[in-house]
């Protein structure tokens, strides 16, 4: 029989090497596997199920805000990508190029989409003619390719999955409203469904999307103290409309260039889930997106073997329609082994059904987030299980929020700033004058980047202060961190 502890032993401790812990866990929990293509991964069923829940829950929200899904080509003629100057500069270094098709050299090379502004704008130029066609609100779920040198499962892979929304509006104000609305949708979704607290803010000019007028993002703090950009929303201004010729006849009969937005989240979110909630025993999945919410483990001994199995199966049947349930009946594995394996996979709630539970007329429920055990009488299961899952969801969020609060520090001067970045990690709040020179110097000296200029005021009245770097200019408080 497979023993109790070996499962967990194969995973590096977070304290020893967080990076190795991450790689161990993604493999051990069967989220993904390395594929024989540089920087690409196979997302295994357990990992993909998380993505399916993300697609469903975020997809509902995207539709509820009036967007419709569509699908645009994978390939972008190189000349199209090159139309918007900043855009091509940003993406050209990391594209994959198709140069041959059907046995022949192609007359024009095709870029495998790194993002779809170029191809979508070329279509929008045909579809948008009049103010009646606006707003045009389209989203697509697809794969994109960015040739990355240093890859890491889910966080940075040459191919990844995402959704990208692309909208067209009649006015700048409407485009800005849409940009912020979708940032808000992301924030609410990530906080309520993934149980990850985020800071919403604006990116600096240096960090904005290649081709955008303004970029906003939500930023999360991983449990190793590094930040991760969890979603972005761009006000594209008229940059793309002008080069792709997206014009409309307005109500006043004038021909005008349209205003656009684009916004996206990707399979990176799975990386965030792992790094925000995981611990040395593996994943801790928030119930709302957990592929398996409850696992039932029959504790099989000689005594009452059949009754225990029958009860476990009965529970499975009873909740199959309302919860995502798994019954682990495998033989040849000890209960302890099974506990470890399902803990590694982060299943929020374990129900143990043993001879003693039978005698007591209930089951033992064990929470993955706290390890807390409780006995639940059979008659209270319908009420208790959903309640426990809600508590776990909320508990994970609160724990992550507490961690972020404890790891968000205000730096009074550059010395203190460096010390926090190196010694304590986490978010550092500091005044910044707004100059790219200071931003770059800070990055060079500390590897910390400006994560965002927060949308919410940080400190009540004390709005402006001297720049942490140059001390001369004055500016608002912004979020810094070393980031993934």
């Amino acid at each position: 029989m497979k023993g109790d502890q070996e499962f967990v032993k194969e995973v590096t401790s977070q304290m020893v090497d967080f990076s190795q812990w991450y790689l161990d866990v993604v493999l051990k929990a069967e989220l993904m596997d390395y594929a024989p293509v540089k920087g690409c991964m196979a997302i295994r069923p357990y990992g993909y199920a998380i993505w399916e829940h993300i697609q469903q829950l975020l997809g509902e929200r995207i539709k509820a805000t009036g967007h419709k899904n569509a699908y645009f080509p994978l390939f972008i003629p190189q000349s199209l990508l090159q139309k918007e100057a900043d855009h091509v500069e940003g993406f050209a270094p990391e594209v994959a190029l198709v140069t041959r098709g059907g046995g022949e050299e192609l007359a024009e090379k095709l870029v495998v989409r790194p993002t779809s502004e170029a191809i979508i704008c070329s279509m929008y130029a045909k579809w948008v003619q009049s103010w009646r066609d606006l707003p045009l609100l389209i989203n697509q779920w697809c794969n994109v390719v960015r040739w990355e040198k240093n890859t890491r499962p889910f966080l940075r892979t040459s191919e990844f999955l995402w959704q990208e929304g692309h909208t067209v509006h009649a006015t700048e104000a409407e485009a800005e409203e849409e940009t912020l609305k979708m940032l808000g949708v992301y924030r609410e979704f990530v906080e309520n469904e993934l149980a990850i607290p985020v800071i919403a803010g604006r990116k600096t000019e240096k960090e904005k999307f290649a081709g955008a007028l303004r970029t906003y993002s939500i930023e999360a703090l991983m449990s190793d103290g590094r930040a991760l950009q969890a979603g972005t929303s761009h006000n594209l201004g008229q940059h793309f409309a002008r080069v792709f010729g997206i014009q409309f006849q307005d109500r006043d009969d004038e021909l005008k260039y349209a205003w656009q937005t684009s916004w996206g989240v990707s399979t990176r979110l799975i990386g965030a889930l792992i790094m925000v909630h995981g611990d040395d025993r593996g994943l801790r999945m928030p119930p709302r997106v957990a592929p398996v919410q409850v696992v039932i483990i029959p504790i099989i001994m000689k005594k009452k073997r059949e009754e225990v199995l029958a009860k476990a199966r009965e529970l499975m049947q009873r909740f199959a329609g309302t919860l995502r349930l798994e019954l682990d009946e495998r033989e040849g594995y000890s209960p302890g082994w099974k506990f470890n394996e399902w803990e590694m996979k982060g299943v929020p709630l374990r129900l143990e059904v043993g001879p003693r539970d039978l005698e007591n007329g209930g089951v033992t429920a064990v929470r993955r987030d706290t390890g807390e055990k409780s006995f639940v009488p059979e008659t209270e299961l319908e009420q208790c299980l959903p309640m426990l899952l809600r508590e776990i969801q909320e508990g994970l969020f609160q724990q992550a929020l507490r961690f972020r609060r404890e790891n968000t520090r205000y730096a009074e001067n550059f010395g203190q700033f460096k010390e926090i970045v190196v010694e304590q990690k986490g978010f550092v709040l500091a005044h910044w004058c707004g100059e790219a020179g200071c931003e770059e110097r800070i990055k060079e000296e500390t590897k910390a980047t400006i994560r965002c200029l927060p949308l919410e005021e940080m400190d009540g009245g004390k709005v402006e202060g001297p720049c942490i770097c140059c001390l001369k200019g004055r500016g608002k408080i912004v979020y810094f961190a070393r980031a993934y």
Copy 2:
């Protein structure tokens, strides 16, 4: 105000030029638009919504039969694709090749997946070790690329969307059972959800999938008399297992090569929907997959303008939760124009709300499939609307079935065979000896191919007869047709 008839006039009649009718309709109904990449298309929201319903309804069935979704890389190293000899021979001529990435020439060229056997088998070789790992039942929804010379929206495009199931089994019998089970799933899905009757059968050696042991397909008849392969299911035998080394320790401790299957349907199904059900007024969508099931059109005149609009909005609200509804309140368009536009989009049911309907306490319901009008009292709407939609779904299926029956003919001799193929089109049933030579000669002389060797016996006792081509060999009755 936009007039009544111009909308339909822009579409070629099916009788005049079926092929042009098809191209007119896909554009006019806004299913797709041509993209600035050879052979690729943008699937517009209305067309993509059909695909989303297909994904949902077929996806449920794929999961209900025990399969889990996953995602494998877009790129396949050329050497992997070349491992299985027949497979590479079948797909090499139509691949797109990535030769540059991140600004550098790649050491090994990457094939953009035309199908994923090669990349998936390379992963399965790692994941399958013991009989405990079997059966392995995985499906993926993704894009694939096959460099096509002659393309046609939805039917044959260089990039298309599909699902591909890939399973591994311990025995040949289990693989064959799976292959036929999924063919059955496709058949039931296509008939019940898309309202398209299909013939299920086996492909000949010549027509089978490159690398398969046996290929099965479902074949549908388009309303121009040409056949279309609507889905395929392959028993891959041990072909891929042997070259990719997918081996497992069986219960008897012996190391054995596994047996595999793969099966898929694609956005081609949208082409089938259009060509089976469409007419000169446009699409006719089966309610189960219709993006819009019911359109409400307020008939606005000076009289009772406000009451009519209020009633239309009330209906919209009343059924928004249970039906896929659209309310067309646009101003500046006559009711006739709106009728034509929604007919073009194939919306199964139109509800007209005019002053007279108000007086009579109900709405006028018009079926897209038959044009039949009926008055539905307000109190009966909850009962009537779903019933009408069910009748339309069933009506479309029966009409297509009748058409297929009327266009399936038995040929006694080669002369008659040719006449049917050229003059009458449709399916031709004929005896075939099983020789590839005869199959090829028939194709050369008539452009008709063997669609399948039907799984169900065709003619009761009269099983074998002399080959329609060589007259010497004897064989069973098979389905021939010119096909898309």
